[in-house]
Amino acid sequence: MSPPFCSVRNLSVRYGLEAALKSVDLDIVRGERLAIIGESGSGKSTLARTLAGLLAERARIEGEITWPALGQAPLPGRDFGFVFQDPGTSLNPVLTIGEQVAEVARRHLRLDWRQAYVHAEGLLDRVRIPQPARAMRAFPHQLSGGQRQRVAIAAAIAAKPALLIADEATSALDVVVQAEIVRLLDGLVREEGMTLLFITHDIALASGFVDRVAVFRKGELVEAGPVRSVLSSPAESYTAALIANHRDLSTKPLITEVVS
């Protein structure tokens, strides 16, 4: 059995008196697609930010995070890419798309600017931005929300990181674009052999493509396991409630069909 990609032991995070994570134990396996599932206040984003070293300074961290496969804490951009919920705020509004994606490649792949631009244009094509050459010269506000998220993904994977963390990366998008972005992420991590941490409030969205799920509630890990076994026979009642509350087109409507 190979060592885990990342090992979290007894991790607690507090903001002041408030505990955002309580004694969490979790392993991330190299090359897996792991969904971190939780509602508001579950601690799912705190976990992502703790792993990425992006917590606010006032946060108190206890416990241990080790990266056996890397041998050291991962470097942002080079070892992991991070895709946030709102690409409108994660992209720099006054730099062109090309500059922002090329910068990551230049810095971490040690390319010169010209090579980095060529690399960036190839990446925009991979994330299926139409007319990549033209998009290179565009500014973020000139793209739609879905296109901006594709650019943010291109920047996140520009240095070929081993780990991609997507924190509610599709939640601000409409369902049609959401489905496209999930397909894109799924395809990219398969092709590149990347490890994916997919943080979401939507258990159904994750159920369609991840290998394992870890369910969080109020800062605690409720249960973790292979996606099919957790979804078909959840060990915890909270997980069962999340599944029962899912609504799709086959769920019985709340109204009677004829107006009384």
């Binding site: 739609s144 409409d174 939507d202 159920s207 799709d248 087109l249 409507p253 004829v258 107006v259």
Partner: protein
């Protein structure tokens, strides 16, 4: 049939970097009393422009709106303000819609005072009744809005919207930001209120699964047009437009069977 709302041939264009973009292109719809019309479409399809035009926050270029038998677009000033009591709205983020420092009581007191629903002495009792009706403890009246959870804030937004005894609520992504368990309870509250008061809803969302849960009829928007409209069950089981088919395909399905 005399419904609370009849919209006929509404059009509205914006110009964007020199090009004219039709946000609403010849949009017609009706909503009858006690009925929910679900309006679905992708981002940029024109849903929110339509809600803004209905609420008179934006003037259309062409078309007409009849609301409770009146020419809604002809109303001005005091008349418009008075009639607005009957068409109320609930948005996605109630925190953005409220003064965050305001107490729940003052949020609910404003419409009661402005629309002259209850005099000063009756208002605390009316506020308590509204809170009770939306499932919040009456003690919440003194709490600042920002200390409430998302679901509680949305209940306050619904209480405010029904305070003026409207006949139509425009709900624009009203449950989209809520956790699934909370979302279910808010939808149930809306259904109860509709049954009780004969309210009509225009329920706008990009999420067809949520729209399906609460709508009698569904209209699908794409590029400023209504491309399909019909009984909810027909639209989701036998869609006729590409836009509806795309929305249906995009609804996440819970995959539970072992692979």
């Amino acid at each position: 049939m005399n419904g609370p709302l009849t919209v006929d041939a509404l059009s509205k264009a914006y110009s964007s970097s020199g090009r004219r973009v039709a946000a609403l292109d010849n949009v017609s719809l009706t909503i009858t009393a006690g009925e929910t019309l679900g309006l679905v479409g992708a981002s940029g399809s024109g849903k929110s422009t339509l809600s803004r035009v209905l609420l008179r926050l934006l003037e259309p270029d062409a078309g007409s709106i009849r609301f409770e038998g009146e020419d809604w677009l002809a109303l001005r000033g005091v008349d418009l303000r008075r009639r607005r009591a009957h068409m109320q709205m609930v948005f996605q983020d109630p925190l953005g819609a409220f003064n965050p420092l305001a107490s729940v009581a003052s949020v609910l007191d404003d419409p009661l005072r402005i629309h002259d629903i209850a005099d000063r002495k009756q208002r605390p009792a009316e506020i308590a009744a509204l809170l009770e009706r939306v499932g919040l403890p009456t003690a919440f009246a003194s709490r600042p809005v920002r200390t409430l959870s998302g679901g509680q804030r949305q209940r306050v937004a619904i209480a405010r919207a029904i305070a003026t005894r409207p006949s139509l609520l425009v709900l624009d992504e009203a449950v989209s930001a809520l956790d699934v368990t909370v979302r279910g309870r808010i939808l149930e509250l809306l259904v109860e209120l509709q049954r009780e008061r004969g309210l009509a809803y225009l329920f706008i969302s990009h999420d067809l699964a949520v729209v399906r849960a609460i709508s009698h009829r569904i209209a699908v928007m794409d590029a400023g047009r209504i491309v399909e409209e019909g009984p909810a069950a027909d639209v989701v089981t036998a869609p006729r437009s590409d836009a509806a088919r795309r929305l249906i395909a995009a609804v996440p399905r819970l995959v539970t069977e072992p692979a």
